[in-house]
């Protein structure tokens, strides 16, 4: 390309919307590492440059409520640490030695070989190397070059690879479901939310395989085909997994627009689920009544700070689609908050956007409907939050120090990345989730009444 005068080249300059300031996710490899680490007993083995796991720690793990890498994450994660000679001569032998030593040294129920950009560009035959170890250990290979997609894609690829390489048909267990669509280290509350939902579903006699955060991770994976139904808690992410499981094992699936936050969404979720699993509605209603009674009884405790301190504020949300829907619906439909703007940051595919808009407009009970904006560029997000009237900003910690300039009196990190709070088992899911959310929001503003 010759250098024309500057005017001419500006005019002919193509636009690249994917050139962004601080998009709120990592790459496919990052999502696959996250998923492997979320399934306890899995040892991720990176076939990549030496910095990919560091980036996961600094970005994805610290960004998800300042979590450490744990026993198999951070700098404990085996990695082939590829350099120039492997670009030229190939890295298959290096990988072979690494898998061998990782199996020797690190206890694992499952070894997940996660390959990044470099072997994808140089054409290493990772699958053949992995195959050599099939007799020695449970091992799978996930091809996640960083340039093929983001963390959400990596989560899906982890499960799609598992389905292809590991899962075998099993007899269906009645009342058993799998839960997908909650991406570890990306959905801030993955550990807490899944625990809460499992407990809630147990009350209905539903056995939820949450796969993540339990010590029998491999058994959870292997039992995926035994489910009566797959449940995906996202308006788009994880749908590919459910479709693949339907094709391969004939399991039907139910999608829900996000992790249900607070009594109304949770009741709705349980009723839909019970309908699909043929659980008598009276039984569900009985549990809903009990749970709602206690949840709302406790909401009475916040009545004074709510009504005297910060009644019906305009609020803005900056979050991935599932979190945005859950939080916005709870605040708008149960707490009387006025949704002004919702910015969706996880770049959902075009075909999923109508449903997201529906959830954030038709399914919002107030007369006031929010502006719904799809934007992943943090610079543009900041500009689009200007000149508005919200007092409460539920966003990531990227918005923490600009919130005051934007006019917000309360900022709370509810979406990735969140470097400003430690999140272990905090949860906004289920009947009691709304209470936790209100505790966190109002604790940022309460003072003597």
């Amino acid at each position: 390309m010759t250098s024309n005068n500057s005017e001419a080249s500006v005019i002919s300059e193509p636009k690249y919307p994917e050139v962004m300031e601080a998009p709120r996710y990592s790459c496919a490899l990052g999502g696959a590492i996250s998923t492997a680490l979320g399934i306890f007993g899995t040892v991720p083995i990176l076939h990549s440059g030496a910095g990919c796991g560091q980036a996961h720690l600094n970005g994805q793990a610290y960004g998800c409520g300042e979590n450490a890498g744990g026993p198999q994450g951070g700098t404990s994660t085996p990695c082939s640490c590829l350099v120039e000679e492997h670009v030229i001569f190939g890295g298959e032998n290096k990988l072979r030695n690494l898998i061998q030593s990782s199996i020797e040294l690190m206890d694992g129920d499952l070894y997940a070989v996660i390959s990044g950009c470099v072997p994808a560009l140089t054409g290493d035959d990772v699958e053949s190397v992995v195959k050599e170890f099939k007799e020695k250990a449970n091992i799978i290979s996930i091809k996640t070059a960083g340039f093929i997609g983001n963390s959400y894609k990596g989560y899906e690829l982890f499960f799609l690879s598992t389905i292809d390489q590991l899962l075998k048909p099993l007899p269906v267990k009645k009342g058993r479901i799998n839960i997908f669509g909650v991406v570890p280290y990306q959905h801030l509350f993955w550990k807490g939310d899944l625990k809460v939902l499992k407990g809630t579903l147990q009350r209905l006699g539903i056995e939820a395989n949450i796969i993540l955060r339990e010590f029998n991770g491999l058994a959870n994976l292997l039992e995926i085909p035994a489910a009566e139904l797959n449940v995906v808690l996202s308006p788009w992410n994880g749908h590919e997994i459910a479709k693949s499981l339907q094709e391969k094992f004939g399991t039907s699936y139910l999608t829900f627009p996000g992790v249900p936050v607070g009594p109304k969404q949770t009741s709705n979720f349980l009723l839909q689920l019970a309908g699909r699993l043929n659980i008598p509605e009276e039984k569900v209603q009985e549990i809903i009544e009990e749970e709602e009674r206690i949840a709302y009884r406790f909401i009475e405790y916040l009545g004074d700070v709510h009504i005297l301190g910060l009644p019906h504020p305009y609020f803005a949300v900056v979050a991935d689609s599932g979190t945005a829907i859950g939080v916005t619906q709870f605040l708008a439909n149960e707490m009387g908050y006025l949704p002004e703007t919702v910015i969706i940051t996880d770049n959902p595919p075009q075909e999923a956007r109508a449903e997201i808009i529906h959830q954030l407009s038709v399914n919002i009970e107030s007369i006031f409907k929010p502006d719904i904006i799809f934007e992943s560029d943090s610079h543009k997000i900041r500009l689009k939050l200007r000149d508005r009237s919200f007092l409460v900003l539920l966003a990531s910690s990227l918005e923490k120090f600009i919130a005051a300039d934007l006019g917000a009196t309360v900022h709370l990190s509810v979406s990735f990345p969140s470097f400003d709070r430690l999140i272990l088992e905090r949860s906004y899911a289920g009947f009691g989730g709304g209470l936790n959310l209100m505790e966190d929001i109002l604790s940022k503003t309460v003072a003597p009444l």
Binding site: G51, G59, H379, L398
Partner: protein
């Protein structure tokens, strides 16, 4: 005595006509694996025997981009950073709007500033068709959005392997862009040593950003401080230099672009970490005649004294320095003596507590004499890397504190856990992310604070830092409940046989 500048040990000179620096492997025979006595390492290095050997087991440890540059470059206040990379390479930068914001304005943090970075977010089709136009677009977009004074372009494995012509794009666009464009070649696959990333960054700074001096500033002292030096370290250095009528020019973190431009006008470049500052110091001397020294760093009382004396020599402030040293000693030496006494009492019978630190090679040189000063013994140390840049200094160090065992490894958690278990020091100083090596019966704390920690207890530099750090270490000794509980109640990352065999470098390929 062999000199560090001998041609076969360290490549002489810096070639700013080249697009980037040589790798540390070539420039100074850098290695990231060794276990043995420091004295032997020195002999091996001088005989040219150090080799970058492979391991059959390795753990992710950072690359030229994603160890340091990705976390910190975005803090340069009126610059913008472009990652010419897939989206994950910049994940480490997501904290950019929060770093330093926790430092109170009352402690000298500017109230209003904005930090910026963007990613070209390289996609599959870019890999096939090239991403040059995207990079050009990103440069223009950075200029439009942020009107920065400088635009740093950080490269990645992918941009490198697909053969992106970075210099071509920079040369073509620079005439139309107000910001100075600074390409930094930090492709992860280029080098085994994360330190190559430092040199690559300074190469870009020296080549594109530093201006010819308009005037010499006789009171300006360049101090390159990296992430392990806290806000309080800066305040302490500023305080001491201020007493002798000097001003520090702290780069690169949280600096403004004009501070880089003025690097050529300083009276001297002084080190906090020699391995980090080396390339910058030598480049500034070669190009602009700014003198430098690389040893010691201002850590501990004696080191700080010597650091100040060196600065005094280059700035003609010898007598002022002596006065300040005397004054400071009156305040701080009694406190250090008291702390030393307490340390020596802990074991009794004149026995010293042993301490094992995981250090950069810069800290290795600075911290071992400090430990000695406060009555701790360091029979062993771990160093991220080792190269021929510091041979004379290691010799000097052995002279001061005696011979010690050294494990060279860059965040290899299994090896570090092994050595920590094997040597069983009274206090283990760990990086925050070293896997299982924090679970133990004896003492444990962090080696240093990170980021913009503004609490006085995190200071390690200068006189106040010596006292703060010694008392911090003493404090760590008073409770072991966390590490003991975790040792008892959680599983280790590695199988038992790992700890039962004697060699932390069990997986080293010895025949290479």
């Amino acid at each position: 005595m062999a000199s560090n500048d001998a041609h076969n040990l360290v490549e002489p000179g810096i070639n700013l006509n080249a697009p980037t620096c040589p790798n540390r492997e070539q420039r100074a025979h850098g290695i990231n694996v060794y276990y043995g006595q420091a004295s032997q390492l020195l002999i091996d290095a001088r005989e040219g025997k150090l080799q970058a050997k492979d391991r059959d087991f390795q753990q992710t440890s950072g690359c030229a981009l994603n160890f340091y540059l990705a976390v910190r470059l975005n803090t340069i206040r009126d610059a913008a950073v472009i990652y010419h990379a897939p989206v994950g390479c910049s994940a480490s930068s997501l904290g950019y709007r929060e770093l330093y914001r926790h430092v109170p304005v009352s402690l000298g943090r500017p109230e209003n500033y904005d930090l910026h970075w963007i990613t070209t977010n390289i996609q599959e089709n870019d890999v096939v068709y090239g991403a040059g136009n995207k990079l050009r677009y990103a440069i223009r977009e950075a200029e439009r959005r942020y009107s920065p004074k400088a635009i740093f372009i950080l490269t990645s494995c992918t941009s490198g392997v697909i053969g992106e012509d970075i210099e071509g794009a920079v040369n073509e666009l620079q005439p139309y862009i107000d910001a100075r464009i600074v390409p930094v070649h930090c492709e992860g696959v280029r080098s085994r040593l994360v330190q190559t990333g430092y040199d690559a960054f300074w190469h870009g700074v020296l080549k594109y950003l530093v201006k010819k001096p308009e005037k010499k500033q006789k009171d300006l002292v360049n101090v390159a401080s990296m992430l392990s030096y806290t806000w309080q370290d800066r305040l302490e250095i500023k305080r001491i230099l201020g007493k002798i009528g000097l001003r520090p020019n702290f780069v690169p973190e949280f600096a403004s672009v004009d501070q880089f431009e003025q690097l050529s006008e300083a009276a001297v470049t002084a080190p906090l970490c020699p391995t980090y500052t080396d390339y910058l110091s030598k480049g500034l001397e070669q190009e602009y005649g700014v003198p430098y020294f690389l040893y010691p760093s201002p850590m501990g009382i004696r080191n700080t004294d010597e650091w100040l004396r060196k600065i005094g020599e280059f700035t003609g402030k010898e007598s002022e320095v002596e006065l300040v040293i005397e004054e400071e000693h009156k305040v701080w030496q009694p406190k250090i003596d008291a702390l030393r006494e307490q340390f020596l009492k802990l074991k009794g019978k004149g026995e010293k507590l042993t301490v094992l630190g995981s250090l950069g090679q810069g800290r290795l040189l600075a911290q071992l004499p400090f430990f000695d000063e406060i009555g701790l013994s360091s029979p062993a140390a771990m160093s991220q890397d080792f190269d021929n840049l510091i041979l004379d200094e290691v010799e000097q160090l052995i002279g001061t504190v005696g011979d010690f065992k050294i494990l060279v490894n860059t965040f290899q958690a299994a090896e570090q856990a092994h050595v920590t278990r094997q040597l069983d020091p009274d206090i283990a100083l760990t990086c925050p992310f070293q896997g299982c090596s924090f679970k133990r019966e004896k003492g444990l704390t962090r080696i240093h604070s990170l980021r913009a920690d503004a609490h006085p207890r995190s200071t390690q530099s200068g006189y106040a830092g010596a006292v703060a750090c010694a008392s911090f270490l003493l404090q760590s000794w008073t409770s072991k409940s966390f590490q003991k509980t975790m040792l008892a109640k959680t599983r280790d990352s590695y199988k038992d046989w790992w700890y039962k065999q004697p060699d932390p470098l069990h997986y080293l390929k010895r025949e290479v």
